[in-house]
């Protein structure tokens, strides 16, 4: 059984780092990379061996519903691969980047706690346990956002903590109501029991969860914490937050709860579409007006989450495929874009697009990979973002949601506009930049190149033979809705 190790390894690494690290961060780096590498191998193994099956791990030998269970199915394995893949590249990027700050070893300890929290949220089959792991990840995230120790970073972390606490309170309230109604915390049991509970209660709890997890996913109007937090954090953490945290704590939790526990009620699917559309359009306009590169990327994350939510809201098999594919694609290209922004910030000492210039001669890897990421996020062929957005648009038309298809098209157009603006000022500006504060290390370049290659390679997942082995099992878990009960409980 892989799942316990998915949680134990990063947790152990976090403690070991605090124990054995001195002033230098060498051991912290080695431990973190070994931990995340092993996590990625385990996640990949889990992903390619799980298929359509579901494996349960019951802690301490107790049986459901008395124990906390971990659930390994295609969806959780898929999410684990994304989290640990991005974590590995993020660590590669961090090695030299994070040395500009004091006590870098602390960074690695917090990083491991962040991964522990995310892996825990994904692996658990217990809703209170999900809340606990979520809080572990969030505490680490608050600290990491403030890691730079500047005023704006503390402010961002404070805002994040306040709004994060509100959402956590809402989620805890929802968990409490569910427990009161069903007398269990195991998600599969809750799903089974809810079928006998008054639907009003279910809808109340679902609305509270949507607000709570909507805030974690930064869906509008619960998004306001994200632009500050994601732009103030160190670049590799921004990539973790935008690339995977909002998906693990937000989107994944929404999928699991709304599809597998509540059975995707129609009213919530409509809400997903409405909120997703608002997020796509409003966040795109906000991104368009940004001159801070990382802030632009942060608003873009809200918009892209909107695409995912739109797909989830349309709710057909094709739409879910688009949403799932976009979760993966967004993790890849948004992390890459944050690495690019981090590299430029490290080299030039600014995030202001107006102070940047022509970097293609002096920073070819950063410029080249940023172009690939831009084309991916803007949805241009043959990059991965093209296919996931295309699928979502086709699904919207197929489901007769023409207006939503048009919104997705307008959102794509706006995405192209603000990312080409970022390219024009940030990488292809008039001023030839020749002097740099710091050079870009091999680790940073490698992280960027790996993700740039993935922006192209992951397009292949759409080929039917490959899709059936990779994305389709994930879609099946989601479309199976409360079939999750049978898969976990065996009844």
């Amino acid at each position: 059984m892989i799942l316990p190790f998915i949680i134990i390894i990063p947790l152990l690494a976090a403690f070991l780092i605090t124990l054995i690290s001195g002033e230098k961060d060498n051991w912290a780096i080695v431990l973190s990379i070994l931990a995340v590498l092993s996590l990625l191998i385990l996640a990949l193994f889990s992903f390619f061996t799980t298929g359509d099956e579901t494996f349960i791990y019951e802690m301490s030998g107790w049986k459901i519903p008395l124990t906390i269970c971990l659930v390994q199915d295609a969806l959780s394995s898929f999410m684990l691969v994304i989290v640990n893949l991005i974590a590995l590249t993020s660590l590669m990027f961090s090695i030299s980047y994070i040395r500009q700050y004091s006590s870098p070893w602390m960074y690695y300890a917090l990083f491991m706690l962040l991964i522990t929290g995310m892996n825990g949220v994904i692996a658990t089959g217990d809703i209170f346990n999900l809340f606990v792991f979520m809080e572990i990840a969030l505490f680490a995230a608050y600290a990491l956002v403030a890691f730079g120790s500047k005023a704006e970073e503390y402010e961002a972390a404070f805002k994040y903590a306040v709004m994060g606490s509100i959402s956590s309170t809402l989620i805890l309230l929802g968990v409490g109501i569910l427990y009161a109604s069903t007398s269990t915390l195991t998600m599969a049991n809750i799903a089974a029991e809810l079928q006998t509970v008054n639907s009003q209660v279910t809808y109340w709890v679902a609305a509270i969860f949507l607000a709570g997890f909507g805030l974690k996913s930064a869906i509008m109007p619960f998004h306001a914490w994200l632009p500050d937090a994601h732009s103030s954090a160190p670049a590799p953490i921004s990539s973790m937050l935008s690339g995977v945290l909002i998906k693990a704590l937000g989107v994944y939790a929404i999928i699991r709860i709304f599809y597998n526990i509540f059975g995707a009620p129609a009213v919530f699917l409509t809400l997903f579409m409405v909120l997703g559309s608002i997020s796509i359009i409003v966040a795109s306009y906000l991104a368009l007006g940004q001159w801070d590169l990382k802030r632009l990327l942060a608003y873009s994350s809200i918009s892209q989450i909107g695409f995912i939510l739109l797909g989830l809201g349309i709710g057909t098999k094709l739409a879910i495929l688009g949403a799932v594919f976009h979760i993966l694609n967004h993790a890849i290209f948004k992390s890459l874009l944050f690495y690019n922004a981090g590299a430029v910030e490290l080299a030039l000492g600014t995030r202001d697009l107006r102070k940047m210039g022509n970097l293609k001669g002096a920073m070819p890897v950063t410029t080249g990979t940023s172009m690939i990421a831009t084309l991916s996020v803007a949805g241009l062929p043959p990059f991965n973002g093209f296919f996931s957005k295309l699928i979502i648009i086709i699904a919207a038309v197929q489901a007769n949601h023409i207006v939503y298809a048009i919104i997705a098209v307008i959102g794509s157009l706006l995405t192209l506009a603000y990312f080409i603006k970022a390219q024009r000022y940030g990488f292809h500006g008039e001023t030839e930049i020749t002097e740099f504060r710091q050079t870009i290390s091999l680790g940073m370049k490698s992280a960027m190149i790996i993700l740039a290659v993935l922006c192209i390679v992951t397009s292949l997942l759409i080929i039917p033979g490959i899709r059936e082995l990779t994305l389709d099992p994930v879609v099946t878990v989601i479309m199976n809705k409360t079939g999750y009960i049978q898969a976990v409980l065996g009844r």
């Binding site: 609305a207 906000l286 098209v409 024009r424």
Partner: protein, 605 residues
């Protein structure tokens, strides 16, 4: 997937591009030249032995019909000619990426034309837009980054409308499985109209049709001149109008109202763009506006619904790519010698660069619609088509069609006026002393412009026998239409003979009775200083300052009529509105959370 001519037309340039990533510049040139000549031969073989389609997993992805073959042919011809021009003269700074992007672009354009399946069209079409953007970034003007941004937002942005249009078509014709073209979808209902206009946006953005044309003049000025001749003047025009033909003649069954709408757009494109071209002081921008204006003729002809005008429109597409790339390359030769494309700085170069002058003159006369050059014949057919169409409609519509026709004819006259300025400003008049040591363009450059000029003549003199009979009429036949009877009579050989006779008579009179004294130029009894020379840019100053044109020109120069700038201003106004409610205040954000949750509760209960 079978390897045949169709797949090779995509694979060969793709492989050349990949190999060119690693080769030294000289080998890149050789490989590109050999590869492109081979593609030309492959293309010729398609005429003789049309090959089967390429099928992937049971779905036909690439295929060639008569229309695609015509477009492909001119893509290969122009690619070879422009490559000849590029062999000597491309800035050393950009040579390496240039010889990667060039075959890459060719592969994408070939792929787009050969695509008969929505997904493959989307991919190749999108990739050709990326290539256009990357070529633009090779320019070294100060305004290049801004132009590249504008170009990609318009052209790349139009791709999402192509997606929407094709997805809607697939929705309307679900049993077709994404296969394209001969669908003849009736224009009824919102979905069909949305699909039609979405595809129209994609075609106009690529081809440079009004109001999505504004990237073309800017691109013309700021990209490397070879890239301008290659893409907006040639390949993108071919692609954009190719899609337009498909939309109008095979994808949809249009009603007369839509035909009238398209003709109006065409006429407006002609007149607006040519009016802007007249007042330009930059040679490349002037040509850029003419590139747009000429698209107007194509839209007018192809969009009219008349078979004669369709033939004229297709012929005009071919002609335009020939003389427009000729003109850009001729200007490019001048630019490479002088280092400028500002008309004010040029002048009197005809004597120093006689071949370039001669070829540019042919191009200028062709685009102005002067017989016997090719541009005359295609415009003449479009006019005839409109007249033919007018015979069968109600009097009110006849007036409308007549207005469109008059605008088109007037546009042609203004084109001539504009090119008088262009030719005078560069090649005639008094030459500034700084250009006294200018030498002729290198062999490869005048060879390229010379071939294009020759094609202008050949396609003018033997218009019916060569391009129309051999290339265009088979397309018309494949569309299921019979060849219509021409309204008027025009014999290009007779016209040439008449022109020739007149010219010879003129020369006889000139040489026989001339009695002139050649002297230096004086002004107020003193040698005229250089800055008193007559600049071509002064030609239409009066028109520029004429009421109410002055206000319109001022507005146009401030980009008030540019859809890109209008959209930009509207977008930033919306952005400001949203930013006003994102003031960074935590209590406000908390209020949103509470309100958001209350709304959710209200909705679900």
């Amino acid at each position: 997937m079978a390897i045949n001519q169709l797949s090779l037309l995509v694979l060969v340039p793709l492989i050349i591009a990949v190999l060119n990533l690693f080769l030294p510049v000289i080998l890149r040139k050789i490989l590109a030249a050999l590869g492109l000549v081979w593609l030309l031969i492959l293309n010729y073989q398609l005429f003789i032995n049309p090959v089967a389609e390429i099928v992937i997993q049971g779905v036909a992805v690439l295929a060639v019909d008569k229309l695609a073959l015509v477009i492909l042919t001119f893509i290969q011809i122009l690619a070879v000619i422009i490559l000849v021009f590029s062999l000597k003269g491309v800035s050393p700074k950009i040579q390496k990426p240039y010889y990667v992007l060039y075959p890459l672009t060719l592969a994408f354009c070939n792929g787009a034309v050969l695509s008969v399946q929505a997904l493959s069209l989307l991919i190749f079409w999108g990739l050709s837009g990326i290539a256009l953007y990357l070529f633009n970034l090779l320019g070294d003007e100060k305004t290049t980054p801004e132009t590249a941004k504008k170009t990609f937002i318009i052209v790349g942005g139009s791709d999402v409308f192509l997606i929407l249009g094709l997805v809607l078509i697939w929705f309307l014709m679900p049993h077709n499985g994404g296969a394209l073209w001969n669908l003849k979808i009736g224009l009824s209902g919102e979905l069909a109209y949305t699909a039609f206009f979405s595809l129209l946006i994609a075609a106009f953005a690529k081809g440079g049709g009004f109001p999505l044309h504004s990237w073309v003049p800017d691109y013309s000025k700021d990209a490397p001149v070879e890239a301008v001749a290659f893409l907006p003047a040639s390949l993108d025009k071919l692609l954009g109008i190719y899609l337009f033909v498909r939309i109008v003649w095979s994808l949809f069954a249009l009603n007369f109202g839509i035909h009238l709408f398209l003709m109006t757009i065409g006429a407006l494109t002609i007149i607006f763009a040519v009016m802007m071209a007249m007042i330009q002081h930059n040679g490349r921008k002037l040509l850029g506006f003419h590139a747009v204006s000429q698209v107007g003729y194509m839209i007018l002809g192809i969009g009219s619904g008349s078979i004669i005008a369709l033939i004229g429109g297709l012929f005009h597409l071919i002609n335009n790519t020939i003389y427009k790339s000729n003109l850009f390359l001729a200007l490019g030769s001048v630019e490479k010698k002088t280092g400028t494309n500002e008309l004010e700085e040029l002048g009197g170069l005809g004597g120093k660069m006689p071949l370039t002058f001669g070829f540019a003159l042919v191009g200028a006369l062709a685009i102005s619609g002067i017989p016997p050059f090719n541009g005359f014949f295609s415009k003449w057919m479009i006019y005839q088509g409109i007249l033919d169409l007018a015979k069968g409609v109600a009097p009110g519509y006849q007036v409308w069609l007549l207005v469109c026709l008059i605008l088109a004819v007037f546009g042609s006259a203004l084109t001539l006026a504009s090119f008088m300025k262009f030719i005078h400003a560069i090649f005639l008049g008094r030459r500034p002393a700084k250009w006294d040591n200018i030498s002729r363009a290198p062999l490869n450059q005048w060879l390229a412009t010379g071939i294009l000029a020759a094609l202008c003549v050949i396609f003018g003199l033997w218009a019916i026998h060569l391009p129309i009979t051999k290339l265009i009429l088979p397309v018309i036949g494949e569309f299921g239409f019979s060849v219509p009877q021409m309204l008027g009579y025009y014999n290009p050989i007779l016209v040439v003979l008449l022109f020739g006779t007149t010219l010879i008579l003129g020369l006889i009179i000139y040489w026989g009775v001339r009695k002139v004294r050649l002297d230096a130029i004086y002004l107020g009894g003193m040698d005229a200083l250089e800055h008193f020379r007559v600049l071509g840019t002064e030609f239409y100053k009066e028109i520029r300052d004429m009421k109410p044109l002055k206000a319109i020109y001022n507005g146009a120069e401030k980009k008030y009529f540019d859809i890109y700038d209008i959209s930009g201003r509207c977008s930033f106004a919306i952005t400001r509105l949203f930013r006003a409610i994102h003031n960074g205040q935590l209590h406000l954000y908390n209020l949103w959370i509470v309100l958001g949750m209350l709304i959710l509760l209200w909705v679900v209960l």
